[in-house]
Symmetry: C2
Subunit: 245 residues, 2 copies
DNA sequence: GACGCTCCTTGACCCAGATCAAGTTACAGG
DNA sequence: CCTGTAACTTGATCTGGGTCAAGGAGCGTC
């Protein structure tokens, strides 16, 4: 269960996405093919409300979704960012624990929960693969706890940008004239909700990082990173390890 | 895989602890018995350092352990609190992601990693049970992210006390003259590290909650809760749901 | 090209919680 | 019983980031 690929190529998905261990092969894949279907969501649309019955699991194919919690008085905290290939849903859980919202137009590849769970019982590798993915998410959540509890606003912004850069880089290595560049997929307010800040502070810290030459801005959303090590240093991460997300 | 008990009774453990699905019964249990062993740790002793090779998994039998991260400049954030019955370790991961420290004298029931993983492969229910537990931990971590990112110091303290009360209550329902009472298993500094505060702020907020009659203090560590609903209200939790940990 | 959006920036001021600095318990060991 | 030390409390002051407020920039629509 170690080094083989963990991505499956859906017959229709434009990208490979990880949902099932690839070693379990054709038989399993064909069964998955039979029960899968696609759903599209518009930017801003809520996919599931916290507490709602959730009758499917799936993974993001294109677009960005977020996991958020809201207190009665409106304070919001984003607790997860779902990029293409990320899995959504909790096998064995009837209801959703958090709001899931599409922040861009979004396509998901879904499996009805019951058949997926049946297949999970029949195919041990799936549970093991899901366990592995859930452990990754747990590590990421715990890294985020350090950020939320102990980092300064500037470090939080630098961390967010470097994490998005890392995720983007792993998908489609993109460099312009030797400079790493990233599109921020979130508004300032969404970044604030992710980082436990206000949107004004996010804006101010981004301006400060720009003034100090740590990043370049091209429009509001497009960031160039002249020196990734400098950015990581600003993020306060020890060495270059950690920070999975 | 749904409603059956998920606790196993070790032959020596004073309490039942959850590590394996009980439905998988005698055969599996006896195999587990063969590979399990016990380890004791003194209060303050570090069980594993982040990045260390980790050659066992296990669960807490008695005592309290914590999961923490530290930045180079010494800022610390606790990312998990391990009470009796909690599982430690990541099947499939060679190294520990966080420091694990015994905050009280501690006994753990351990399994060497290799045989445990072998058994996991051979017994599908184990992976499913671990997945379930990991999903619980992930939900708890995400609840904690809301606390760290958005709650006030007073709400954080109230949340921590109510969570510890809930955990204690589920183990050994303890009430003195109709009043719920809890021992805080952590120093003020450890609470601060858990809540993303300083120890001074923790102390001040505990004093404030006492002055306002939300809690009573008997010594430094023993807390009485005259009105659990009042406490939950102070914690800012919607209704009485959520907050697993 | 002017309107009406939503998103973003910047300034002025304020306050919750951090920091610095004394004390005060609580309790273990001699 | 005294003494030392770790844990805790409380006060005084400072400050990072929140709050309130006023624009600006980009962009789709008529």
């Amino acid at each position: 269960m170690q080094e083989h690929s963990v991505h499956v190529q859906c017959s229709e998905c434009p990208i490979r996405h990880r949902a099932v261990c690839a070693r379990c092969e054709t038989d399993e894949l064909s069964r998955l093919e039979q029960i899968k279907y696609y759903r599209s969501f518009q930017a801003g649309q809520t996919i599931i409300w916290s507490g709602d019955r959730m009758e499917f699991v799936g993974s993001v194919v294109t677009g960005i979704a977020t996991l958020t919690q809201t207190m009665e008085d409106g304070r919001r905290q984003m607790v997860g960012l779902l990029l293409p290939s990320d899995f959504v849903g909790r096998p064995g859980r009837p209801v959703a624990a958090f709001d899931v919202t599409a922040t861009t137009d979004l396509v998901m590849c879904c499996f009805r929960k019951k058949p997926f769970e049946d297949m999970m019982s029949a195919t041990p590798h799936i549970a093991q693969r899901l366990l592995e993915m859930t452990l990754d998410e747990l590590d990421a959540a715990r890294e985020w706890m350090l950020l939320l509890g102990r980092k300064t606003a500037r470090e939080k912004i630098a961390s967010l940008i470097s994490i998005i850069a890392r995720r983007e880089a792993s998908l489609h290595m993109r460099r312009a004239k030797g400079m790493l560049s990233v599109d921020l997929p979130l508004t300032r307010e969404e970044m604030a909700d992710y980082l436990g800040l206000t949107l004004e502070t996010v804006s101010r810290q981004i301006s400060a990082l720009k003034k100090d030459g740590v990043i370049n801005l091209e429009g509001n959303r497009h960031v160039q990173i002249p020196d990734i090590d400098r950015l990581l240093e600003e993020a306060g991460d020890d060495s270059d390890g950690g920070m999975l997300v």
